[in-house]
């Protein structure tokens, strides 16, 4: 078994200490870790699911723009980060697990290792107050 590079491991250890939802993916978007606050967003426990392929976890969220129209995946911060390895931030809405619209902001950033390689990405979900 090959271990993750330390930059990924340290990102997980950091995420594990935070009270905000954090998702960590590999370079193609497979979800390799999400912390406890993210479990509430995803409605699943990392202990139960383990890693999740991109096709599986990306369908959990239904992103809507501010007018309530479905957003194309390529406009999502994490998808953009995975595509060009730059950080992004965007506010939009997601349909919560209970079917309620939840305004959120998402910050994503690439993990560029000490060797200069792109090895994964992180998405942080900031919940906004419901108006």
């Amino acid at each position: 078994m090959t271990a993750y590079e330390i930059e990924i491991i340290l990102n997980r250890q950091l995420a594990d200490c935070l009270s905000i939802p954090v998702f960590i993916t590999d370079t193609v978007g497979n979800l390799i870790f999400y912390n406890e606050p993210a479990e509430q967003v995803l409605g699943k426990r990392f202990e139960d699911t383990g890693e999740m392929p991109v096709e599986e976890w990306s369908t959990v969220f239904k992103p809507l723009d501010n007018d309530g129209n479905p957003m194309p995946p390529e406009e999502l911060p994490l998808v953009k980060t995975l595509s060009d390895q730059y950080p992004y931030h965007k506010s939009f809405q997601i349909v919560s697990l209970k079917g309620k619209k939840q305004p959120i902001s998402v910050t994503s950033y690439p993990i560029i290792s000490r060797s200069g390689n792109f090895i994964g990405a992180v998405a942080i979900f900031w919940k906004q107050k419901l108006k």
């Binding site: 078994m1 271990a3 993750y4 330390i6 340290l10 997980r12 594990d16 200490c17 290792s113 000490r114």
Partner: protein
């Protein structure tokens, strides 16, 4: 291949009867096969190692990182001053400065009278990261590990034998300690199934919490790392300068009450033939 430990003390050299048994020199080990020699780290133990390398034309020094206790002896490694020697220094790449520039910060005035570029041997520097490379009969794997600043561990392989050298390492850094899944353990690939694993065990379980983030392990975390990686035998190293021989033996005895992992205390002068 023959492994010898020349220095197993952490942080700063110690002298005196309290630390005489396990030794006071800082990090250095050698691996020898036929007329090939690898020197791991350049702590104060490297001075004596230099004398043992007098017959070797080429010597490869593999530095895990550039903290002082791992390079302090470099300037006293006699082959560096012998024009007939070919010395290769391997060390972790940084994202900003070259290895030459970083080592030169120590091997230059006012800290040292001779500039690195002026040493008489034929000197070549090599930067490593997550790398696999060959030196003579040895295949070597290096990987960045958790320790402040660019730091690697080394897995030295010859045929089926493996010696893993990770003297400074804090794999348990995090709010809940080490994640007990090999994919999430820093240094796992280096240590998996090693015949001999030399690993940082600087602190007691009680000392570790107030030194968290300093880059070292408690003896319990070192034992857990040995267990997860299925190392066949582990030598606990980087002994804290404040720990006497008697205290180290108490630490080990206490650890053995709760673990059946094959372990011992790294001892200066220890030699083992892996064959």
């Amino acid at each position: 291949m023959k492994v010898k430990l020349w220095g197993v003390r952490g942080s700063i050299p110690t002298t005196g009867p309290d630390t005489d048994k396990y030794g006071g020199n800082t990090s250095c080990a050698s691996v020898v096969y036929d007329d090939h020699v690898l020197v791991l780290d350049g702590g104060t133990g490297i001075r004596q190692c230099g004398g043992a390398c007098s017959a070797n034309k080429r010597i490869d020094i593999l530095l895990t990182h550039l903290h002082l206790d791992h390079i302090q002896g470099l300037g006293f490694f006699s082959p560096l001053f012998d024009p007939s020697k070919e010395i290769h220094i391997w060390g972790p790449a940084s994202s900003s400065q070259s290895l030459f520039s970083r080592i030169s910060r120590y091997l230059s005035p006012p800290l040292f009278p001779v500039l690195l570029r002026d040493v008489p041997c034929k000197l070549e520097l090599h930067e490593v990261s997550n790398s696999v490379f060959d030196i003579g009969p040895f295949r070597i794997q290096s990987s960045y590990i958790i320790h402040p600043g660019p730091t690697v561990g080394y897995r030295v392989m010859r045929e089926n034998f493996v010696f893993t050298y990770i003297p400074d390492h804090e794999p348990a850094l995090g709010s809940h300690g080490m994640i007990q899944n090999p994919k999430w353990v820093s240094g796992y690939d280096l240590a998996e199934g090693a015949d001999i694993l030399l690993h940082d065990a600087q602190y007691t379980k009680e000392e570790y919490p107030i030194r968290r983030g300093w880059g070292h392990s408690s003896i319990d975390d070192a034992g857990l790392f040995a267990s997860i990686t299925s190392a066949k035998h582990t030598l606990f190293a980087h002994h804290d300068p404040s720990h006497s021989d008697a205290f180290l033996e108490e630490m080990l005895a206490s650890f053995k009450l709760t673990s059946d992992v094959s372990v011992g205390l790294a001892t200066e002068g220890f030699e083992i033939e892996l064959a």
